[in-house]
Symmetry: C2
Subunit: 698 residues, 2 copies
Amino acid sequence: RGKIQVFHYQVMKWVLALLVGSIVGLVGFFNNIAVENIAGYKLLLTSNLMRQDRNLEAFLLYMACNVVLAASAAAICAYFAPAAAGSGIPEVKSYLNGVDAHSILAPSTLFVKIIGSIFGVSAGFVLGKEGPMVHTGACIAALLGQGGSRKYGLTWSWLRYFKNDLDRRDLITCGAAAGVTAAFRAPVGGVLFALEEATSWWRSALLWRTFSTTAVALMVLKSMIEYCRSGNCGLFGEGGLIMFDVSSRVTSYTAVDIIAVIILGVLGGLFGALFNHLLDRVLRRYGRINEKGAPYKILLTAFISIITSCCSFGLSSLSPCIPCPRDLPAGRCPTIGRSGNFKKFWCPAGQYNALASLFLNTNDDAIRNLFSGGTDSEFNVSTLLVFYTAIYSLALITYGVAVPSGLFIPVILSGATFGRLLGKVFGSANGLDTGLFALLGAASFLGGTMRMTVSVCVILLELTNDLLLLPLIMLVLLIAKTVADIFNKGVYDQIVRMKGLPFLEVHGDACMRSLVAIDVVSGPVITLSSVERVGAVVSTLRRTGHNGFPVIEDEPFAPAPELCGLVLRSHLLVLLQGRMFTRTRVKTSATEVFRKLKPFDFAKVGSAGKPLEVDDLGLTDEEMEMYVDLHPITNRSPYTVLENMSLVKAAVLFRDLGLRHMCVVPRTTGRPPVLGILTRHDFMPQYIRGLFQNVLRE
Amino acid sequence: RGKIQVFHYQVMKWVLALLVGSIVGLVGFFNNIAVENIAGYKLLLTSNLMRQDRNLEAFLLYMACNVVLAASAAAICAYFAPAAAGSGIPEVKSYLNGVDAHSILAPSTLFVKIIGSIFGVSAGFVLGKEGPMVHTGACIAALLGQGGSRKYGLTWSWLRYFKNDLDRRDLITCGAAAGVTAAFRAPVGGVLFALEEATSWWRSALLWRTFSTTAVALMVLKSMIEYCRSGNCGLFGEGGLIMFDVSSRVTSYTAVDIIAVIILGVLGGLFGALFNHLLDRVLRRYGRINEKGAPYKILLTAFISIITSCCSFGLSSLSPCIPCPRDLPAGRCPTIGRSGNFKKFWCPAGQYNALASLFLNTNDDAIRNLFSGGTDSEFNVSTLLVFYTAIYSLALITYGVAVPSGLFIPVILSGATFGRLLGKVFGSANGLDTGLFALLGAASFLGGTMRMTVSVCVILLELTNDLLLLPLIMLVLLIAKTVADIFNKGVYDQIVRMKGLPFLEVHGDACMRSLVAIDVVSGPVITLSSVERVGAVVSTLRRTGHNGFPVIEDEPFAPAPELCGLVLRSHLLVLLQGRMFTRTRVKTSATEVFRKLKPFDFAKVGSAGKPLEVDDLGLTDEEMEMYVDLHPITNRSPYTVLENMSLVKAAVLFRDLGLRHMCVVPRTTGRPPVLGILTRHDFMPQYIRGLFQNVLRE
């Protein structure tokens, strides 16, 4: 590349990152506005009907709204982009580990993810928009990085430098971080999330770029909120983005407080691990239902929506009315309308329904109510216990339905309820506010299920804007994660494994320990000659599904067969399409080849683009007999390991460098120059266990 | 290792990390107490003399105190541990990159670093205790990790699992992070500092452990401060650790503010780059003086100390007295005694000396004064200009003297002054507080010199405890770093390069581009046979300084010579010391060898420990003729590259996996099984440039 191209590349890299940041910020804002307005009008209508004492009608309307929203979310998800269901964080995580699952980052997925998430959250489900925002951010980044979508005719040629794995991965990391920022208004938390949970490879340079992306996303979000403050955005008010002000409520704490916090951490870890365990079971069962087809998915979603509606309305109506606290100013209790701490429901004047304050609200508002300080007496123990049980169960049965659904909000919600509950139980023995206990409870549940530490801690700090809480949050996270790690893995790891994605773990599995590289090479290796007959290339491509082939340099180009390098299936296809064939077995000069084929022709196609197939080429019989020189497209420096390299060390090499293929070369002379190719699948514990079933059992 | 040992190892890993955290926290606290008391009494004495109008005596006392403190710091540094001079961050950074420079982490270095830093800071130099705290943290971690110091007879056998590079590096990373935490009370900033600036390799597991370490350090620090609040710690009060409360002073800003901030960022970047450039020159000149011996070092330090004292006292006395602002409550202006915003100096009652408020204070207090909000009129433009010029120049000439000296505080100090100056210049055109401008100025200078972004941002946020400042700080950092990156590298990278430490950069140098692995292999490779004559081993060890030797398996153990693995010099020496020799050339069983030699005998010695030498072994002539089997100590899976592997890719492999040796193996048959060994030095641009001078020039 020339100097201008390098400059162009550098500038574009930054422009793209900032563009990703601003678009993700805008989308996050749009998402919030839509949810607040849809859910807001729904709740407003319901509460208006209840004010006229038309309670049954109110319930039916509420349920109908929910079911319609849920069913439409499920329908677009099932028919247009099945990949958009669920959180999306496990998929993004796998992508950044090198697993390019089908249409995970396609434009249709992006579209469905945004719309589906809005509908799903508005439908009153116990799910969040945070996970989907991360996926949305990643999709936007992928889309920009691949220069738009070829399928929909949106491509920009100046983005052509980014059609490779590394740049795309970097951009998607930025996108995921921006997603977290847009969801939580937490720029540092976003960066740390990308670092701790999302990526598998990290470079210092990326830290800096990710940080700028999240900064831009935050600024866009902030200026839009500023614009909305004057009431231009319908029902969207202060409450749109979760942001809790529990500032300056604690400066010092006693030993009793610390003990309470430790207990909270332990219990949070236990309940978190239990949540993961149960969720795994529920997801497996749902998987069997969802497999049956789109109508089943929609029915399941509608069913869960009905259960959720019944739960929230039914439990609220069973709960008794509580007189308002006397010291509150008039108008603050009970509140009528959309938001507010003390919901009237069908209580007489001067009384409020505590459960309705939590259930008949958006999840964000419910969390804010739980976190709010100085309201120790608002929710009593039984209210919190009922709400906790309901939310914990609903969260479990909701995540698996076929709509975009995040896990952060359910976990925070149940954690906050649990924490507040514990705060009430400890009562006056400790000096901490129950609102603070709710925050710590949320932290402990997040630690217990997601097993993220630094990022959760920073996100919570950025949400609450009080750094003095740091030691307590750290302590509770440490304990919760440690306790939960005894039982099972983090929820995202669990989902990755359940989906069967070939994720490369940091540490090799125990079964690799006594093996060497050659042990896992299966079958004879399929090689190509450096100048090969077209027919042979085509038949090799047809016969196998491999993506990389070692190229052997043999006579007359070398005295004895030697490893020339590695050639990729996709590059082979492009070369064949270019029809640079010769009648005899001679080298063609590279300049000649690249006069006809530009480097960009070899660029990776987008994740939704259709790759070239052998049969598309339409090679004639005459051409099949000709020769093609593979030298120009051969990677001359593939990473290699000796055959007797310990498999664990080979796995470290493979993972740390982010390879796709690795050649196994012989240690002694008089053997073929390459003995096999190792790919990601050869390092999967399941595969190795299958190969050595009998040996390992002994 | 058995299960119990693994458990032991896991538990110890955590115990050590937490221990490092608490010790670093304690040391940090002790450091603060000492500085506050020594500097405090010095300033108190001076100010008492001035109240009696004995101004000359006051000046002489002040200067004498400074010179004595400075000279003693320089003396212990020059005579006991020259490695303790300077910031220590470049050294820690290099260590974590794999460069084990001499006695960088030795106990004597630790001792001198702590004491020297206390004396240096108390002496009124324009230097900080933050860099030394990072080095101190790393030393403590190294010391604990290697089980105490063998030299001083302090060893614990239960720490024996940690005598390897990986565990020690992890622990030192934790220590460095804890150092930042202890210096700034910034736990998240500490983690990010370790991630962004210190380490070259990073694993997710480490994030979690580092975070716990910093959490413990913070808690220890907090509880100690709580203890001191009741006045048990002499002059140590609230002011001990820098912690600025600029809370809630800004909620929204206009376009004019943003423009002012952008200008601040650009200027910060320019002045930062200039600072790096000038510092490099000063350090080179100082290097020549310091080389001449310890007395020169002490003289230079004393000289700079005199200049500093004259500057602070002289400039203060030239500055006019300013009437106190009328709206201040009585007693707040002028303040007499140690700290406070409005210093009396020799002004009449009701007036204060603005320069003295900045100069005749500890640096921490000066920064606090600059950051303090609502004091727009305290310092006028000329005061700030004089102070800025003085501090910028003093910072440049101070860093290179032979005392432990950090760069954070000087940079923050000059940045804050510059920011406040700019805030005054913009005057009423913008709505931001001048205290906030000082903060942003500090950020821009930090971005311009250190080129850290995320960690600086988080540290500043943790110092000010106001997350709403985040967007502004981010913006200013982004701009400053971008501008400064045009001119030169970050100050720590510059020092690393100036010290000639073989630091492996992320990106290979341009000169590697057209080379392959075999090109940089120099001279014939020195190999050992798998069962070798003792005499041959000894002569090889004597003849060369290499640390690793390829082991060749040849007849009768293999039909043709083949690469068996790699053996390390240190392991060879231990094996020879064990005297497991045979009279004939046969294999000895590994179990037999390990009955005599425990795995711990092969553990790495501490950084200050004296390694075993060949001549210490005292081998007899008879023994020299015997054979020794190298199989048991050979690493059977060394990482290898083919001879024609591109050097850039080989460098990526070398760096990303953190290797020390890499074998180059042939691609064709009929050659020796190993062609050479690549070490860190073979990847240094200087070395490669030297090899291919003529070729590269063309």
